[in-house]
């Protein structure tokens, strides 16, 4: 499962490369391609907000820790796992595969969240 995420990131990079190539030869249609979607999840008061987020496949989600205490973002089936995030630390993951991903803070396991990829 970890592989599918990194493959997704690779494909996204490849897509940017092609778009860049299009721009370099002055092809205006390249800019018509929608930018990759990004979404934010904030960590405040030991809570992921929003606790549940539904996104389209290919979306990159960025978590930001706004507490004075470090947290982590770890999926229960090990699809993604952040390093420890100190105050204002960020972690991003691109979701290329549809499915439901439950995650939690491995330091404060009462903190849980869910990402649904369509």
């Amino acid at each position: 499962m970890r592989r599918s995420v990194s493959t997704g990131a690779l494909l996204a990079a490849l897509g940017l490369g092609i778009a860049g190539l299009g721009a370099s030869v002055g092809n205006a249609t390249a800019s018509a391609q929608p930018p990759p979607a990004t979404m934010e999840i904030k960590i405040d008061n030991f809570t992921f907000a929003p606790p549940e987020l539904t996104v389209k496949a290919g979306t990159t989600i960025t978590w930001t820790n706004r507490d004075d205490i470090p947290h982590t973002v770890v999926s229960t089936d090990k699809v993604f796992k952040s390093k420890v995030l100190d105050t204002d630390g960020k972690f991003s993951s691109t979701f290329s595969t549809p499915g439901t991903f439950v995650y939690f803070c491995s330091i404060h396991p009462k903190m849980t969240g869910k990402v649904v990829v369509q």
Binding site: D68, P70, F104, I107
Partner: protein, 321 residues
């Protein structure tokens, strides 16, 4: 909370322990230090000013100190100087009337598991009168590496993730690790391997052996909504039913709380770094900012004394103020 409420109304028929009025007195002493004695499962408390009436301590006694939650590396508003407050804790220890034989550190030594944070704590603790420190890890000490760096530094002679036991002056000490392999939605966890070890560890001991168990996250349900408890602590405590005197010392919640249940006295220590809210009194746990001139009054150390033959461990909380 309901369990705590129950204890507040603990009645004592020996005339000198905690009844409701006594408990309210304890509350008034908060911040100035109180003295707790457990005898035959009944918690008795005295103000520090009345300690002389307890009489001289008998020979063969064992005195040790618990410190907790140093969070070295923390630098936010709740305490920008955790070095200074840890040093103040060491000064407090060095000023105790009976020098402690050793220290227990019940975890969250560091804030972010960084080598330099552990180095700083080790350096500061070297100036304490008690030279030996027994550690158990907090969740902040095992970030990112499943506790490998912690074990390399503090794990000599320990089992598994760093648990161990030792005997001194007739008291059996058990250091447990409940901050690893935590499950989503859950609490602190000891795990099957550690529980099996513990069961075996206490088998050979006689019923009259005083037991001291120490671990980072409370081994009783202080406030599960905030993760302040340990999933399988009941299993661990079931192995200790045969013993007349069991004292459980924890950290993690950065405030002192006591509870007596049968033969077991539970006690959580103050942090040397920053306070946290009382259970359920805020949106979440976390560093609590108080006026700077009050900070040291809610940080502290815990002094524990065992008097041989009395099966009693006296637990004293002192603030750093």
């Amino acid at each position: 909370m309901s369990e705590k409420k129950k204890d507040e109304l603990l009645h004592d028929h020996n005339d000198d322990g905690v009844d409701r009025r006594g408990f309210l007195k304890c509350m008034a002493w908060a911040g100035t230090g109180a003295f707790f004695v457990m005898q035959g499962g009944v918690l008795k408390s005295y103000s520090l000013s009345k300690m002389p009436r307890l009489g001289p301590r008998s020979a063969g006694e064992l005195s040790f100190v618990q410190i907790s939650d140093s969070h070295m590396g923390f630098n936010k508003a709740a305490n920008p100087d955790v070095v200074g407050t840890l040093k103040a804790a060491v000064d407090k220890i060095n000023g105790l009337p009976t020098p402690p034989e050793f220290m227990l550190h019940t975890g969250d030594i560091s804030h972010l598991s960084k080598p330099e944070e552990f180095d700083t704590v080790d350096q500061i603790l070297k100036s304490a009168s008690a030279k030996t420190v027994f550690f158990v890890p907090g969740e902040h000490d095992v970030l990112d590496d499943e506790g490998k760096a912690y074990l390399e530094r503090y794990g000599k002679g320990t089992k598994g993730a760093g648990w161990y036991s030792f005997d001194t002056k007739g008291v059996h000490f058990i250091g447990l690790v409940n901050v690893l392999n935590l499950k989503a939605g859950g609490l602190g966890t000891l795990g099957g391997e550690q529980l099996e070890w513990m069961k075996d560890d206490v088998k050979r001991l006689t019923h009259s052996t005083p037991i001291v168990v120490f671990a980072h996250i409370p081994l009783w349900s202080v406030y599960p909504e905030w993760g302040w408890g340990t999933e399988d602590s009941a299993q661990a405590l079931s192995y200790l039913k045969k013993f007349g005197s069991v004292t459980v010392l924890n950290g993690h919640i950065h405030q002192t709380l006591q509870k007596v249940e049968g033969n077991v006295t539970f006690h959580t220590a103050a942090s040397t770094a920053f306070p946290q809210p009382r259970p359920g009194t805020a949106d979440s746990p976390g560093p609590m900012q108080v006026p700077a001139d009050q900070l040291k009054s809610i940080l502290g150390i815990t002094d524990v004394t065992y008097v041989r033959g009395k099966h009693a461990l006296a637990v004293v909380d002192s603030s750093l103020a």
